[in-house]
Symmetry: D2
Subunit: 346 residues, 4 copies
C-alpha cells in the first residue's frame, strides 16, 4: 500500500443497528485491496434510500440484519493506493461511484454492469456505506473530479448519474417534450439533465410549492397537480420521466404520453403499479425502469463542469458526522429540505 500522509488506525462511522437506531462508532480504517484506493470522505449526500433504511430497517427484500453504515453519495480525496492501484492518484479529489460489479458475468461483459447480480453497492446490505471518514474504492470507480467542481457537486454526481441514465434510456434529444412527475432531488436534477440533452419543453409536476419553485429556477415549467389534475393540463409529452414512485401518479402520467412516446420509471414505490395497457398498446409507448446507472460519471462530470447542470442549489442542509441522525430526519422536520449532506471530517 502506498501512502503519503498519516492515516489513523480507526475512524468514526455512523452505524445503523435497526429502525431509528443510529450510533456513532469507532471502526478500523479499511485497508485498500488490490486495485483499490483509500478515500478520505469529505462529503456524503443523504438519499431517500438512506432515510428509508433508517426508518424501516429494510427496503423490500434488502433487510438490515447486521449493523450497517449508510450513505452512497460520496466524494473526497485519495490518501492511499492498494496493490496494483495507481499511486499517482494520491492527493487527487474523486467522486465515488458506489457500485462495484464483478466484471465478468453475463451482464458485466456486455456493458450492463449495473445489472450485475454480484454487484457490491455501498449502503446496501451487507455492504457498508460512506457515513464514515475513510472508504476503500476500486480505482475504476473513484472518478477524477475537475477543480471547478465543489466537493458537494462531486458527491452529487451520484444522483445526477441517475438522471443521466434515465435521459439516455429515454433517448432524449432536441424536439422532445418531457414530463417529470415529482420534484424531489431526482426530479429536479432530471429536469436540468433533460434540458442538457436538448429537450425543448420540460414540465415538472408536484404538490409542494417550494419544490415547484425550485423546478422553475432550474428552468422548467411547472404544474401544481393539487390544483390542476395532470390529465386536464393538455400537455402531451414525448417522454415521461416518472420520479414520484406513486402508483396513481404513474398511471395518470402514462395516460398523457403521446404516440410512440417513451416512459422511464425511476421512482420506486411498491412492487406493482396499475399499467394503462390500452394506452401502451394503442399508442405503442415504450416503457422501461432504471436500476442505478452505468458509464455515467464522465458525462455527469462534464454536465456540471460546463454549467449545463447546477447541483449546488440542491444542498439545503449540511451536518457533521455526529449529526447524521439529524441529516436523515430533517425532511420530516422541515418541508423545504431538499438534500442534506454530511461532512464526515467535521
Amino acid at each position: 500500500m502506498t501512502v503519503t500522509s498519516a492515516i489513523p488506525a480507526t475512524m468514526r462511522a455512523a452505524v445503523l443497528h435497526g429502525p431509528e437506531r443510529l450510533t456513532l462508532e469507532e471502526r478500523p480504517v479499511p485497508t485498500p485491496g488490490p486495485g483499490e484506493l483509500l478515500v478520505r470522505v469529505e462529503t456524503v449526500g443523504t438519499c431517500g434510500s438512506d432515510v428509508h433504511y433508517y426508518r424501516h430497517g429494510r427496503i423490500g427484500d434488502f433487510v438490515v440484519r447486521e449493523p450497517l453504515v449508510l450513505g452512497h453519495e460520496a466524494a473526497g480525496t485519495v490518501v492511499a493506493a492498494g496493490p496494483g492501484a495507481d499511486s499517482a492518484r494520491i492527493g487527487r479529489r474523486v467522486s465515488v461511484e458506489p457500485g462495484t460489479p464483478c466484471g465478468s458475468c453475463g451482464e458485466c461483459r456486455p456493458g450492463r454492469y449495473n445489472l450485475c447480480p454480484d454487484m457490491r453497492f455501498l449502503a446496501t446490505p451487507p455492504v457498508d456505506g460512506a457515513f464514515c471518514e475513510y472508504l476503500a474504492v476500486h480505482q475504476d470507480f473513484a472518478h477524477e473530479v475537475p477543480d471547478s467542481l465543489t466537493i458537494e457537486e462531486a458527491a452529487l454526481l451520484e444522483p445526477l448519474s441517475v438522471a443521466v441514465w434515465a435521459c439516455r434510456k429515454a433517448r432524449i434529444g432536441p424536439g422532445d417534450r418531457v414530463l417529470i412527475t415529482g420534484a424531489g432531488p431526482i426530479g429536479l436534477v432530471a429536469a436540468q439533465t433533460a434540458r442538457a440533452f436538448g429537450a425543448h419543453d420540460v414540465l415538472v409536476t408536484d404538490v409542494l410549492p417550494h419544490r415547484l419553485e425550485l423546478a422553475r429556477s432550474a428552468g422548467a415549467t411547472t404544474l401544481d397537480v393539487s390544483g390542476t389534475p395532470l390529465g386536464r393540463a393538455g400537455y402531451t409529452p414525448t417522454v415521461l420521466l416518472e420520479c414520484s414512485g406513486v402508483p396513481a401518479v404513474s398511471n395518470e402520467a402514462i395516460r398523457t404520453v403521446g404516440r410512440a412516446g417513451r416512459v422511464v420509471l425511476i421512482g420506486m414505490g411498491g412492487d406493482e403499479i396499475p399499467l394503462p395497457l390500452s394506452r401502451v398498446q394503442n399508442y405503442e409507448l415504450e416503457l422501461t425502469g432504471t436500476f442505478r446507472y452505468a458509464h455515467t460519471w464522465p458525462t455527469a462530470t462534464a454536465l456540471v463542469a460546463s454549467g449545463a447542470v447546477r447541483l449546488d442549489s440542491l444542498v439545503s442542509h449540511g451536518y457533521g458526522l455526529a449529526q447524521a441522525e439529524r441529516a436523515l430526519t430533517v425532511a420530516t422536520r422541515d418541508e423545504t429540505a431538499v438534500k442534506a449532506v454530511i461532512y464526515p471530517q467535521r
Copy 2:
C-alpha cells in the same frame, strides 16, 4: 375506372346490426376511388375482434352505432382500377392490408402509419369490412401475392403481420430465448415467426391441450400452465411475447423475464394490467405494446413463400358467406377451432 370482366351492380354482404344480429344483405358494389383497386374477395379470415364485435357490439371505445360489415383478413383478385390506379394489376391476386392511413400526419410522415389518428381500418366503426364480395382498396395496400401462396395464406398474412411487427419490436434474433403466453392464432403464428427471426428457444404456454399440440407441431416447446405454474418452470426468457391478454398471465410472465429483457404486450384484455414495477426496474426490462403493424407485408409474404412460416395449418374451418354467423360462433361450439375462414364467392 378500368375494368376487364363484368362486375355486378350489387353484392352480398354480412352486416352486423347489433350484438348477435347479423344479416345477409344486398349492397352496391363499391366504385374504386382515386388510386384504388376493386378486389373480388375470395377468402376472409375471422379474427377475435370480429367475434367480439359480433357478441358485444363494441370493443372498448369503438361502438357499432351503424350497421357494420365485419372482416379484415382478406385476399382476392383485382377486377378493376380506379382513376390513377395501375390497371396492369387487374387479374392479379392480392392480400389486403386492412388499414389506410392519411399519409401526411405527424405519425405517417415518420413512417409510423399504424398510429395515424385518421386511419381508416376495415371492420372498425364506421368503416365496413370484408365479409362481402367486393372491396375497394388503395393500391398501395393491396399487396401482390406470389403464385406459391394459397388464397387462405394470402388472407392470413394479416395475422402474420401482427407477429412480424411484434418480433421486430422485440428485436428478436439468434441468441434469443422467447416466451409466448397463449397459443391462440396469434401465439401460434408468433412462435413460427420468432423462429424465423432466429430465436433459439421458443416456449409457448396455454391450458388447452390441442392448442399446445399445435404449438409443438409449429416447432415450439410447450408448457401446460394448468399443471405447472409458469413461475416454477425455471424458464428465463430474453423476450416475452404476451398473447393471452389475461392480466394475471401477463404479470406472472413478466416476472420470469431475464435482465435487460424485452416484453411486447400483444394480447388485448381490459384497460389495465398490474405491472410488476420492481421487476421492470431491477431488471431494466423494456416493455411496449403493439397496435396493428406497419411495413410488414413484404416480409410476411417472404416468410410464407420461403416455407419459414406455415399458415395453412391454422385454418380449421371454412364457410360460405351465408354461414358467416357460424364462422363467428364456431369457437364456442368447437374447442378445437383455431381459425375459421369465409369464402365470400360461395
Copy 3:
C-alpha cells in the same frame, strides 16, 4: 383557390439559362394545386449548390437543360390556398421545406422521404426554385414560423435542417466530443447544433481565419489546419461531421476518430474519397452520408426559438432580386462572405 389580397398575374424571377447566364424575367405567378399554399417569398438564402449550378450549369448528373430558377432556402407569407389546403393559414409566415416527396413509395412509407426517388426539390432540374416572388408549396412542407424568428432565420431553417439531420445520424448527445471539418455555413451551423444536442467539446477546423473566428463566436474551439495538421492536434473525437467535401481532409479526419466513433459525411466533393479501411475496421467506426433531411423543421424551429442556435449572424450580405447574380458571386469577390440572402420583393 382562396385568396385574401390581390395577387398579380405575373412576377419577376431570376432564371439560369446556362453557366453564368442569369436573367431577370417576367413569369406567371403559379396557381396553387390541390393541398398547396401560395407563398409570397420574402427571403431566400443562396447555397453552395446554387453557386455551383450558376457557374457550371450542372452538379454531377443533375444538368440544367431547360432554363432554371435557382434558390431553395425560402421563407415568406401565405397569400392563397389551393383546393383542399387550409385557407386559415393565409397571412401566416412560413419557412419552406424545399422537397416534396411522392408520399407512397418504399422510402416514403417507412419515413425516409428524403430518399424518395420521385422527390421534387426546388432548384434541382427540372424543378424551378425560389429566386422569384411567389412559390406554390404543399401545405405539409410550408412550416409555420413563430413570431420570434426573423424572416432570415425562417429561410435559414433549411441549412439548419442539414445540421439537425447530421447530428441525429451521428446520435450526438452529452458526452460526445465532436470534430467538424470545414467552417462554411453548414459547418458553422453544425457546430451550434452539436452543442444544442449536448456535445461537450466541439472542434472546428478550417484554413480561413475569419471563418474560424465565426466558429469561435459560435462557441466552438477551433484549429487552423494551415498551421497545425489535424493529425498532430491530439484531438480524438467520438463524432466527426465532415463538412469540407475535400477528400484529403475527410481521409485525415477519419483517421483521428476514436474507437466505435461515428462519422457523418456531409460535404459534397466528387464521386470518391480514399477511405482509411484499416481505421474503419480496427476501430469499428460507423460511417454514413446525409442526403438533405427528413422531419427536421419542428426541431430546427425550436432550436432557433429557444436561442440554442443563432442563425442571423450567418447572413453577411443581402440583395434584391435584380442583384441575384451579385449574390451568387459575392463569395468570389469577398472572402469574408458567409451567406448572402436575396429579398425577392425588393
Copy 4:
C-alpha cells in the same frame, strides 16, 4: 492448480521464426494463472491471417519480431484449473475465444471488449497461439461446447463468430436481401449465418467455381463475377457483407446497395479503399467495419447445435502438428482447399 490427469512438463509447438520458417519445437506446458484453465488442444483451424504471417512475417503493423506460435481457432478439453478457476470444468470440452481483454478500460466496461487496446490475442505478436498441445485460457473465454458438436465444429466457432458479429452489425433480419462478396471461409460461413438471421435472399459472388459451388450447397444464390460484372447483375441488396478484401470489389459492391442499406467491411486488404462517396450520401448508406467480435460464442454455438449453420463441410484438409507447414500452404497447392485444420495431439 487442480489437475486430474498426468500433464507432461513439455509439449510440441509449431513456431514461426520468420517468413516461411516454421519449426516444430519442444516448449514447456504453460501453467494456468489465476482464473485460467489449461486446455489440451485437439483441433486448431488455420486462418488467412496465419497464412499471411507465415508467408510475410507480418500483417500491417503487427510484425513477428520474436518466434511466434500461430493458430487462434482452437478447441480441446480442460485438463487443469488455475487458482480461482472452476475445477469442475476439468474434463469438459471447450471452444477457445482467442482474445482476452483487460476488462476495465473505456472499451471493455461498455461491452466493446473487442476494441480493448490491451487485448491479448492468440497468434498476434507477441502472444503465442494454439499450434501446440496445451493452452492456458481464462475460464471466461473457454466456452463450454455441447456434446452434439464435433471438435472441428468447436474450433470453427471462431470464424463463425466473425460472421455472427458482422450479421449483428448489419442488423440482418427477415426482409433483408444480402450480398456477400467473396466465397472464402468467412463468406461461406456468413452466407449461412445471414440466412439464420432471417435474410430472404443471399447472393454470394466469387470467381472460383468450386467456391461458388460450396456457396450454393450452403443455400445461397451465386454469381460468377468473372463472367457477369456485379454492376450488371441487377441485384439491389439491403445489406452488403464485404468478405473479399479487394478494394475494387468493395467499391463496385457498395455501388449496388439500395437506399438506406448497410455495408459491413469484413475482408482485410490494404489500408485504403476508394469509397463511392456520392452513393453513400445520395443513398444514405451506413458503413462499418468489423474487428474480431464480442459476445458471440453462445449464439455461434446455438446456431451450430440447432443445425442452422453447418461448419463441418468447410474442413477440406486435416494434418498432424508436424505437418503444420503443409496446412499453411495447402491453399497454394490445391485450389479446392477451403479450411485446413491441425490436430495437435496427432
